[in-house]
């Protein structure tokens, strides 16, 4: 190989994020020291972000098989069969560190990136959801800024590309103050036989790069930004954050789908983290082939770019595809019609090597396997922490507050207040298939052509996972399944984003190990396969790690969209029942406990998975049958918050008498011992439903069910253990609108 100048050494490798041992291994695999281009490629593909080197062994323990699975982990996204000849591709990904440095572009390109993963499979994206975490918005101007700009960035991209943002969640906790989380999920649909894989094939076939031109933006994003802790001077890392152009993204989407519709492609892959290096070598690896690329042919946004810069640039809105030689002209014509660059930049070979040329000059030559498959994987050294890792939150509820004030404080709390001010900034309607919009129901519901529907939800609660990584993660999965059950959907598949701190620290390794164990156990209990996901580690700053935050995205199906459930009370005179709980909930680690400034407990109560799964099935069947007027799961804040939310969503009051529960199924009624625990305690598997007596009796025959009141009036009225309280709907609505003040 032609060489000019001196070769980079181990110090340069360390500066790019490799360890000294990893550098030595690279030298061993090449049989010589890598040059600048090769070192840049290894530093990216051997980064945590690309190689999953601290998590891959754990992820292998997750269940990935299921009757509906069309594509499992390893492709750009997972996919499940949704009937009618259609498959649904879906995946969640994080863009945490870019968003902490530059929230608008970080969040926008997070959406752009996950959308490319979906249409890289040949599926038209039909929905975006997001899962966000910030510090306390009232206490922190920085958190308000990050929230405002991240929401604007998500809207900017999703709205502009014509994909509805149909749901999501946001949480506010002190440990996210310096390391916010921005996770974006997308799903798409395609005729099952049109899904395409990313494996390159056919020596002599042409490699075509299409989309935007390549610039210097995002260089080193995967290694420098995504695989290290945040710290001082992160503003200087702004050049590593990519800049998104949703207009180009929209053209890329339409162009990709047209190329596939015309049957012009052998393989398709998006360019994400680590740019051309990652895309080309992963396509080669999956196909067991080699690829030759000529960087001199890559359309550039600026002059004078070095070959290594072209290979690692994370410029957005680009795709790589493999085309048979006699179809290249037609493929390039499609690109031109969409006003995108389309350029043949290389060829598939049978060499098993990635060879990089700059014109006639060979500037890099590495075995594909070494680059993609032979990064060392590390065992974690988990150790349960001996002391609490997180300080108690500041108390925001006066110690003597009564039930009346407590409910209002909960509805006002950033974690529970209405998200309307956020989601109104997203187009939730485009493509005209949104049957349930945000706050209509516990899951978003999207119509399919045959009259069935998809339901989708994204969930996670870092505080409860911090209290108990194993059980907290089980709860996150159950929350997703409960949200699906509320609209009558059964889960088909699950994607997850594991947001954790530095896995090289034993306590974070323990959180991660326990969380993955919980994720696997919950998925097995529900019979839901993990079809893909993402791992985001090193989420910590000077103050310490974030709450361990597994985020679970779940896709389900319901047979008849006409029977999609709603969360809000719908009919005066309906009975209100609490379904599913066979034991009292607990206040510890709940939202009320946070408002009281209490520290996290050293564990959560156990969950009888089998019982919860049975309850989910019973609730789902009742909703599908159209038997219930409303169904809403009891989550953050507990039972009374769930009832208040059902009142607000339906615009109607309710009268509850918890002192004298009327059992629908006979004999199961219990008077609550401690009203506070009953009203505000949290545990999985509970639902607030409303409907007629006969329907509740039928549901009560399958799962614990207690009737506690009736729907009606303009107020929520409560009698419990000698306590009486009442809230007008207006008072509830005012409290619930607290977040609107952040978006004047």
């Amino acid at each position: 190989m032609h060489e000019t100048g001196t070769l980079p050494g181990v110090d340069e490798a360390v500066a790019l994020g490799l360890t000294r041992e990893e550098y030595a291994l690279v030298v061993e695999k090449l049989g010589r020291p890598p040059n600048e281009v090769e070192l840049a490629m290894f530093s990216l593909l051997w980064s945590e972000h690309c190689a999953y080197k601290h998590s891959k062994k754990l992820l292998r323990t997750l269940p990935t098989d299921g009757a509906h699975v069309v594509m499992g982990p390893g492709e750009n996204a997972g996919a499940v069969d949704v009937g009618g000849g259609l498959a649904c591709a879906f995946k969640v990904e994080s863009h945490n560190h870019p968003s902490a440095v530059e929230p608008f572009q970080g969040a926008a390109t997070g959406v752009g990136g996950i959308l490319r993963d979906i249409f890289a499979l040949g599926a038209r994206p039909i929905a975006v959801l997001d899962s966000l975490r910030f510090g306390e918005p009232e206490a922190s101007g920085r958190s308000r800024y990050l929230l405002d700009r991240a929401v604007a960035g998500i809207g900017h991209y999703g709205n502009s590309v014509g994909v509805p943002t149909v749901g999501g969640e946001v949480g506010f906790e002190g440990p996210y103050e310096h390391n916010c989380l921005v996770n974006a999920m997308a799903l798409g649909v395609a005729p099952r036989e049109r899904l395409i894989r990313s494996a390159a094939a056919g020596a002599g076939n042409v490699v075509v790069l299409f989309g935007a031109a390549t610039g210097r933006d995002g260089i080193g994003g995967a290694s420098v930004l995504a695989s290290a802790e945040l710290g001082e001077g992160d503003e200087e890392k702004r050049p590593t954050v990519q800049v998104g152009d949703p207009f180009a993204g929209k053209l890329l989407l339409e162009c990709s789908l047209e190329l596939l519709e015309r049957g012009l492609l052998v393989a398709l892959q998006d360019l994400g983290a680590a740019g051309l290096t990652s895309s080309a070598s992963e396509m080669a690896s999956k196909g067991g082939v080699g690829i030759d690329l000529d960087v001199a042919r890559v359309p550039l946004r600026e002059s004078g770019m070095e070959p290594f810069e072209i290979m690692v640039s994370e410029s957005q809105e680009r795709m790589l595809c493999v085309v048979e030689p006699d179809r290249v002209d037609e493929a390039l014509a499609v690109c031109a019609r969409w006003e995108l660059h389309g350029t043949a930049i290389g060829a598939v070979t049978d060499s098993g090597r990635m060879r990089i040329f700059a014109g006639d000059e060979l500037v890099g030559d590495v075995p594909v396997a070494a680059l993609v498959d032979e990064c060392p994987l590390y065992d974690l050294a988990p150790a349960r922490p001996s002391r609490p890792l997180y300080p108690a939150p500041a108390a925001t509820l006066a110690p003597g507050a009564g039930v009346e004030e407590a409910l209002l404080a909960l509805l006002r709390a950033p974690n529970l207040a209405s998200r309307r001010a956020l989601f109104e900034q997203y187009d939730c309607l485009v493509q005209s298939r949104t049957v349930r919009r945000p706050e209509d129901a516990d899951s978003a519901v999207l119509a399919l052509p045959d009259g069935s529907a998809l339901a989708v939800t994204i969930d996670g609660d870092g505080r409860r996972v911090a209290a108990d990584p194993y059980r907290g993660t089980i709860e996150a999965v159950l929350e997703g399944a409960a949200n699906l059950a509320c609209v009558g959907a059964e889960p088909l598949g699950l994607t997850n984003n594991l947001n954790f701190g530095n896995p090289e620290k034993p306590h974070v390794a323990w959180q991660l190990t326990e969380a993955v164990r919980g994720l696997g156990d919950a998925c097995r209990a529900l019979g839901v396969p993990v079809t893909g996901g993402n791992v985001s580690l090193y989420n910590e700053a000077v103050a310490g790690p974030i709450y361990p935050t597994p985020v679970v995205g779940m896709v389900g199906r319901l047979p008849d969209l006409a029977h999609a459930g709603v969360a809000g009370f719908a009919r005066e005179g309906d009975l209100v029942a609490l379904v599913g709980w066979d034991a009292a909930p607990a206040l510890a680690a709940g939202e009320l406990s946070k408002l009281r400034g209490e520290p996290l407990p050293g564990g959560l109560p156990g969950v009888d998975l089998e019982r919860v799964v049975a309850t989910l099935a019973a609730v789902r069947d009742a909703v599908r049958a159209g038997a219930l007027s409303s169904c809403h799961d009891v989550a953050r804040g507990g039972f009374l918050v769930a009832v208040a939310e059902a009142c607000l969503a339906g615009g109607v009051g309710a009268e509850l008498d918890l002192g004298a529960p009327m059992s629908a199924s006979g004999g199961r009624a219990r008077a609550p011992d401690d009203p506070w625990t009953h009203l505000f305690g949290e545990r999985p598997g509970g639902f607030v439903v409303s409907g007629e007596r006969a329907a509740l009796d039928e549901l009560g025959a399958r799962t614990p069910l207690d009737v506690f009141g009736t729907v009606g009036g303009g107020a929520l009225e409560l009698a419990v253990g000698g306590v009486r309280a009442a809230w007008s709907l207006d008072a509830l609505r005012d409290a619930h609108a607290a977040l609107a003040a952040l978006f004047p």
């Binding site: 809207g155 709205n159 014509g162 109104e424 900034q425 309607l429 485009v430």
Partner: protein, 226 residues
């Protein structure tokens, strides 16, 4: 009745508009770079972010090749409906009076609103009754209607129901027509309100009105109908 819906680079709602129009007639997509209106009886300029909304909303799309024949079609009396970005494009093209400014809140807003029919005699509203309030969503950042000096209030065909103006439009104006009455622009999205199962079917009335208008008087010749 054959509708043609323009597809610009960056259009997002063209397929929804096509499907909505197809409920009352035939509907085809028209490519922005073409000069052929394919003999359509009405043109819909759809919502989205044509050319990324770069420079200024609608400012680039008005120069698209297809806009030449569309302008000629409108001048000859052909029905042209502009929705959201399409409304902005038609204002930029001078086919409708006034301009759309950034919302008073300066944020994108997606919300179901009540839209009152002020004039039920137009080619776009004749299936409605005067005073009807239609439930139709809005979704835009630049939807604050600003009429030109001396604006004739009779050109305001649609307005937001009391208290539901989402963007600060003057006089709560949601949709305006040209003086001849054959071009209408509105910010709400009737194409997203054609099925109760996705929220509302009230928007269908606008497409149905256009279909009721067909066939046109003979003054509008030369576009595939006699």
């Amino acid at each position: 009745m054959k509708f043609g819906v323009i597809r610009f680079p960056g259009s997002c709602d063209e397929v929804d508009a096509q499907l909505a129009a197809a409920r009352v007639g035939e509907a085809v997509l028209l490519w922005h770079a073409d000069l052929d209106l394919q003999g359509v009886d009405a043109v819909i300029v759809p919502g989205g972010f044509s050319y990324g909304d770069y420079l200024r909303v609608g400012a680039i799309a008005r120069f698209a090749p297809i806009m030449g024949p569309v302008t000629e079609f409108a001048r000859e009396g052909g029905l042209v409906l502009g929705i959201c970005n399409g409304f902005q494009v038609l204002c930029e093209a001078g086919l409708l009076p006034g301009a759309l400014l950034p919302n008073v809140g300066l944020r994108f807003v997606c919300r179901q609103v009540g839209v009152e029919v002020l004039d039920a005699e137009t080619s776009f509203t004749r299936a409605c009754g005067a005073g009807d309030v239609l439930s139709i969503p809005v979704k835009h950042t630049t939807g604050r209607y600003h009429p030109p000096p001396g604006f004739d209030p009779a050109l305001a065909v649609l307005r937001y129901a009391p208290g539901e103006n989402p963007n600060g439009s003057e006089h709560d104006i949601a949709g305006v027509r040209n003086e001849e009455g054959n071009v209408l622009g509105l910010m709400p999205h009737p194409e997203h309100a054609v099925d109760e199962r996705t929220g509302s079917a009230d928007g269908l009335a606008l497409f149905a009105s256009m279909a009721l208008t067909y066939p046109y008087p003979s003054a509008v010749g030369g576009h595939g109908y006699a």
